[in-house]
Every structure is written in structure tokens, then in C-alpha cells.
């Protein structure tokens, strides 16, 4: 067998690895981008898919099916529904919320015991925090009573889980 191959063939080596899921994320994205606009690459991709199927005994086929499907899609509206943003960005929202809760909890911790149900304004507090607490009273109570923040409150108070 001729073990040498044309220099151009090595351009499809990444296509072979793509099909096997053996490219890096960056390499795979590049290979997929290259596929989009290159009919020759698409033909190679189809051949590699066929080889795998045939080796696994999947001989049933309708050779014109892809062409028919794509022709039918010409009459379909173009799908425009990008996938949602990666989850990595979400922790920033939680960090911001946790920071707010921590600040509020820290201010509450500076106060005497809360067993009495007296309104916040009636409890003696350090003079320098009084204006802040009065201004943020409604918000602080809402945050502390939010179920999602319970774990944060417990962690900050040092209680065992």
C-alpha cells in the first residue's frame, strides 16, 4: 500500500480526529468552522462517517436522504435560538448577593440580641450605623428572611450545618 499521501490530505487529518472526539476544544471549533464553508471537507466528513457505520455493519442507507433533507430545509425558517450563556458567569451574581448579605449580617451582628420584637429603630445602636440601618431597614429584613440566603447566614454565624 502506498504509505505516502498528498500534502493536501494532511489537511483532513484534523477532520478524522474531530470525528473521534480527539481534538482540543480550540482545535474542534476550528475544524467545525472549516467544515462550514468547504464542500470538499464536508464530503470527507461524510465518507469518514460512512466508513465507521459500514465497519459496524450498518449497511442500510438512503444515499439521497441528506440532499432531500437539506432541500426541504430551504423552505424552513432559519432557526435563530442561540444556546444560553455559559454557567461560569452565574457565580458572579451569587458572589454579589452573598457579599450584600454578609455586609447586612455583619451590621446585624453588631446589634444587641434580636429576641425582642421591638422595631429596629427603637433598639439602641451605635450612632454611626443608625442612619444606615434606618435607611436600609426594609431591604435588610427582606434579605435575611430570604430562604436562599439562609445558608449564608448560618455560615457567617459559625453555626454547624
Amino acid at each position: 500500500m502506498n504509505t505516502t499521501h498528498e500534502a493536501g490530505d494532511s489537511a483532513y487529518d484534523n477532520l478524522s480526529a474531530l470525528l473521534d472526539g480527539e481534538l482540543s476544544d480550540q482545535g474542534a471549533r476550528l475544524a467545525i468552522r472549516q467544515l462550514r464553508d468547504d464542500p470538499t471537507r464536508q464530503a470527507r466528513f461524510a465518507e469518514y462517517c460512512a466508513i465507521g457505520d459500514l465497519l459496524r455493519g450498518q449497511h442500510e442507507d438512503l444515499p439521497g436522504l441528506t440532499r432531500k433533507v437539506m432541500a426541504a430545509l430551504d423552505d424552513e425558517p432559519t432557526v435563530l435560538a442561540p444556546l444560553r450563556k455559559p454557567r461560569e458567569k452565574r457565580p458572579l451574581l451569587w458572589l454579589a448577593a452573598a457579599a450584600s448579605a454578609a455586609i447586612t449580617w455583619g451590621l446585624w451582628s453588631a446589634l444587641p440580641s434580636q429576641e425582642s420584637s421591638a422595631p429596629l429603630a427603637a433598639i439602641p445602636t451605635p450612632a454611626d450605623v443608625m442612619p444606615y440601618l434606618v435607611a436600609h431597614q426594609d431591604y435588610a429584613q427582606a434579605v435575611l428572611t430570604t430562604p436562599e440566603m439562609h445558608y449564608t447566614r448560618v455560615a457567617l454565624s459559625g453555626e454547624a450545618r
Binding site: 500500500m1 504509505t3 499521501h5 490530505d9 483532513y12 487529518d13 478524522s16 480526529a17 474531530l18 473521534d20 472526539g21 480527539e22 481534538l23 482540543s24 476544544d25 482545535g27 474542534a28 471549533r29 467545525i32 467544515l35 462550514r36 464542500p39 470538499t40 464536508q42 464530503a43 470527507r44 466528513f45 461524510a46 465518507e47 469518514y48 462517517c49 460512512a50 466508513i51 465507521g52 457505520d53 459500514l54 465497519l55 459496524r56 450498518q58 449497511h59 442500510e60 442507507d61 438512503l62 444515499p63 436522504l65 441528506t66 440532499r67 432531500k68 433533507v69 437539506m70 432541500a71 426541504a72 430545509l73 424552513e76 432559519t78 432557526v79 435563530l80 435560538a81 442561540p82 444556546l83
Partner: protein, 199 residues
């Protein structure tokens, strides 16, 4: 990037407006879906209609695909439902029971009885293709034949093949690529896939 992630990438491209990426998914899963449907329908014309409808329905439903399941699992369900609806609408009974088509892990269960729906022409073509593939594989040098067999039939990763064959991963990648190229060159005249003509 895993096979599942590649499918997700292609789906993402389709959802961003690139229909051609969907063609790649069709090519990738065409035979699997056809094989599945051939076990559920008797008539070759029905098979083609249902297969086409399956992929078109999948395209339309892509905005609802969230990637929780593998793309092929999702496509499999669409195929089964499409076959059911098609045959019920035409008053025909299904040959196999789709309720048994999913295993305990909710994955496609391929252990179904094969049904022959071939026409003489398609049967002849299938035989020609099967013979060509076998001959092409037999003609490969031992190291290429072993590499492509371990990859395609045993499903081993490059790393596993490298360990098995006691060679670097790069060598495995090269051997598999060269094996595919050699087989493709033998199949091309039969499959009739000119380089400059795709969908």
C-alpha cells in the same frame, strides 16, 4: 472535545442560523436512524418518508433541545415518535414495540430484530459497499487495520489504542486517518461522492 460536545457545537451553529451545520448532523446519524426505522416499518417508501420527516422535525425542534440528553438520544426519540404517528395515520401496524426501544438507562436500545426492507437494487448496492469495505480493510497494512478496527469497532480512545499498540497517540491519530483515507478512496467510486458536490 468529546463526541457529545461536538454535536452540541454543531447544534449551536444551527441555532445561530447556519443550516449547513445540520447537514453534518444528518450525515453523521443518517445510517443509525435508517437502521432504527427499518426495524419499525415494512415499506421502503415509508422508510424514506419517515426518515426525512424525522430530520426535518428535529431541525424544527432544535430551539427546544437543551443538551441535557445526547443529541442522538433526542433524535432517536423523535424518530420513534415520527414512525408511530406516520404508521398510525396510515392505518398500519408497527412491527416492533417502541416502548421497548429504550433501555433502563433511558438510552436507545439497539437490540431489536433486524428487518429486511431492501429492494433488489439497494440490496445489490449494499452488498457491493460491504464487499468494498471488507476488501479495503483487508488490504491495509497491519498497523493501520488494527488501529481503525480498535477505533471503529471496539470504540477505544486514541489513548487506549496507543497503550494497546505501544505507540504514541500521534501515531495512532495518523494511522487511523491514513486508514480512513485508504478505505475512502476504494469506496468513492461506489458511493459516488464527488468532492465538489455536497448538499
Amino acid at each position: 472535545m468529546s463526541d457529545r460536545e461536538i454535536d452540541l457545537q454543531l447544534v449551536e451553529q444551527v441555532r445561530e442560523g447556519d443550516k449547513r451545520a445540520f447537514g453534518l448532523l444528518v450525515e453523521k446519524y443518517r445510517r443509525k436512524i435508517i437502521r432504527l426505522l427499518s426495524r419499525m416499518v415494512r415499506n421502503a417508501d415509508d422508510l424514506e418518508d419517515i426518515a426525512q420527516e424525522t430530520f426535518i422535525k428535529a431541525y424544527r425542534a432544535l430551539p427546544q433541545f437543551r443538551g441535557d440528553a445526547a443529541f442522538y438520544t433526542w433524535l432517536y426519540r423523535i424518530a420513534v415518535n415520527t414512525a408511530k404517528n406516520h404508521l398510525v395515520a396510515r392505518g398500519k401496524a408497527m412491527r416492533t414495540i417502541s416502548d421497548q426501544a429504550m433501555n433502563d438507562d433511558d438510552e436507545p436500545d439497539e437490540r431489536l430484530v433486524a428487518q429486511d426492507i431492501s429492494t433488489p437494487e439497494t440490496e445489490l448496492l449494499s452488498k457491493q459497499v460491504a464487499i468494498a469495505v471488507n476488501e479495503a480493510v483487508d488490504a491495509l497494512p497491519e498497523e493501520l487495520r488494527q488501529a481503525i478496527t480498535l477505533r471503529e469497532m471496539e470504540g477505544m480512545s486514541y489513548e487506549e489504542i496507543a497503550e494497546f499498540m505501544a505507540c504514541p497517540i500521534g501515531t495512532v491519530r495518523s494511522r487511523i486517518f491514513r486508514a480512513r483515507e485508504a478505505i475512502a478512496s476504494k469506496l468513492r467510486p461506489i458511493l459516488g461522492t464527488p468532492d465538489d458536490k455536497r448538499w
